[in-house]
Amino acid sequence: MLGEGIIQGLVETARNFFGSYVEKERLVTVQFPEERRELPEATRNFPFLLYDGGDPMAGLRCVACQICEKECPPHCIHIEKSKDKKPDFVGKAQAYPAVFDIDVSVCMSCQICVEVCPFDAIRMDTAFELSTDNRFGGLLWTKEQLAKSNDYYRTIHPTEAAECDERRAKEAEEAKGKAAAAAAAAAAKAAAAASGGTPSAGGTSANGTAGNGAKAAPAAPEQTEVKP
């Protein structure tokens, strides 16, 4: 009958109206700044730079290889390589970024920088409140602003971080084994060359820190003179 559907519709909206006062699940709104919905683990928004240890600038994993800068589709990453070198977690001498800037306003959150990074140095963050009142300086993030600790990474993406830590621990272990073997070989060579001479200093480094397990080698022992 004409008008029947209108009555049904009115009943439905009335049910919504009164129901929203009594049923909590009807009112799905999350009142954002006060209440926050827990982000899913897969949330990815903007990259950050990982560092190990206590000092963000000294512990940066980034070696300024500039792969991410070249791969970045919108060219939002700007890297300047350092002149000097410092050892990385496996003890290899590597450059570090003198300048590492990402333009927040240009980044399109594609995660390609993360996928191409061979050093596990750049990862995606979950932070999304990136707005600022300074649109020139405020949106260009320097390496000081981008650097975040491995502990932070473990809190935001636990599964991924555990996998990464495990892999890096294994690599460090392998590097250590190789270094020890190399040191032993060098020591043997030295001993053979000059029998009765003083023992090499390189031998002591092999039995350095053995129990860093999950924590991926905060500061690798000095092995700079040995080639793995």
Binding site: L2, I6, L10, R26, L27, Q31
Partner: protein
């Protein structure tokens, strides 16, 4: 006069007391100014309240909170809205007819507020008791069409003009059922004076008021009147003139800042005016529904009824989607117009089936009621069936380009 009576007449007393202070030659003028000021202040405040209720109500209907940031529970939202409207830039298009563009919102607000002149807001609380009050109301109501067309035409924008054309077509079409459903009441009460119409309804039999809505022709006429009133005030689901999705905002597209706010105000005040008229014609104006509730002040009853009407307006807006132009016109001419004519016929029948004809007592009253209701209901069924015949309602399928 007892306490309830004093409260009932408190505004009348205050006004006569204030007027008494003015020198004799100016007393009429002061009285007029006081009434105008009261109407503007009260209904503008009610507009602010309605906007808040609408935004909260629609929010709840759509399972969200609605505005809740300004003040506790968002009650200060209308103030924030008003400040925003006042501080916004007033843009007039270069090609617009500046004078008409400027005048349109003023004419609209002026005519809309004029309609309140004849509405009995309470006992002895009618600004002007015209002998032809109902006629005056509808005449003033038609004048809003002029200002809407002024707005649409002077903006020199195709969408504005389309909106104005739609508004004119719609308002002209729906004015006929609006007035015809009021004609039944005028026929039965034998007067065009709004005050007299309300006073006739403020009588009680067995504790129940003689409201027109309690008769079959009154009930049907009331529903038809409200549908037509909704179309007349461009309220959803008849808000084609301002269809955002099709013609952006219709006739007030080129208005910004306070002029836009005036259009907004006028829409809501017009809604209150037609609701007030519906209350006057069908729901006994300021009278209470049951005789033992008469201690409640008459103006209180009026505003309670008005708020209920506004609530229903909001409810319907939250429920129904916008009509299409052909649906709108078909509904006006093929359904509303015949139904209003049938209601007039039923009202006539009601008049001639007055107690001595069908028999005395309760039985006679019941027979009279049922006969008159059947006279309306049977044609309604026939009409609804006829209109739905040949129309297939099925799930819409979409065909895409290959």
């Amino acid at each position: 006069m007892n306490a309830a009576g004093q409260v009932d007449q408190i505004f009348v007393t205050i006004k006569s007391w204030l007027v008494g202070h003015a020198p004799a030659p100016f007393q009429t003028l002061v009285s007029i100014v006081l009434m105008i000021a009261a109407i503007i202040v009260v209904f503008a405040a009610l507009f602010a309240l309605t906007v808040l209720l609408e935004r909260k109500g629609l929010g709840r209907i759509q399972n969200r909170y609605g505005p809740n940031r300004v003040g506790p529970f968002g009650v200060l939202q209308p103030i924030a809205d008003a400040l925003k409207a006042l501080t916004k830039e007033d843009v007039v298009p270069r090609a617009a007819d500046a004078v008409v563009h400027y005048l349109a919102p003023l004419v609209l607000v002026g005519t809309v507020f004029l309609a309140f002149a004849v509405l009995p807001i309470g006992r002895n609380m009618t600004a002007v008791n015209l002998d032809a009050g109902v006629l005056f109301f509808f005449a003033i109501g038609s004048a809003t069409e002029l200002s809407i067309f002024m707005a649409g035409w002077s903006s020199r924008n195709k969408y504005s003009l389309l909106g104005a054309m739609r508004a004119i077509a719609q308002m002209v079409s729906y004015e006929i059922p609006l007035i015809l459903s009021a004609v039944a009441v005028v026929m039965m009460s034998g007067t065009l004076s709004t005050v007299a119409i309300v006073e006739q309804q403020a009588h009680y039999t067995a504790g129940i008021a003689h409201w027109n809505v309690f008769t079959p022709w009154g009930l049907a006429g009331f529903i038809l009147f409200m549908i037509a009133a909704m179309a007349e005030t461009n309220r959803s689901p008849f808000d084609l003139p301002e269809g955002e999705s099709e013609i952006i905002a219709g006739y007030f597209l080129e208005y910004s800042g306070f002029k836009f706010a005036l259009f907004f105000l006028a829409e809501y005040v017009e809604m209150m005016a037609v609701s007030g008229m519906a209350i006057t014609l069908f729901l006994g104006g300021w009278s209470s529904p049951l005789s033992f509730l008469q201690w409640f002040p008459s103006w209180g009853w009026f505003f309670l009824k008005l708020l209920a009407f506004l609530g229903v307006f909001i409810w319907i807006r939250g429920t129904l989607p916008r009509l299409r132009m052909d649906q709108l016109m078909n509904f006006a001419w093929k359904f509303m117009l015949p139904m209003t004519l049938i209601v007039i016929f039923s009202a006539g029948l009601w008049r001639f089936l007055a107690p001595p004809v069908v028999g005395p007592g309760v039985l006679g009253a019941v027979i009279r009621w049922l006969v008159c209701a059947l006279v309306i209901f049977a044609p309604y069924i026939v009409l609804a069936r006829t209109l739905e015949r040949g129309r297939k309602i099925e799930k819409r399928t979409y065909r895409f380009a290959e």
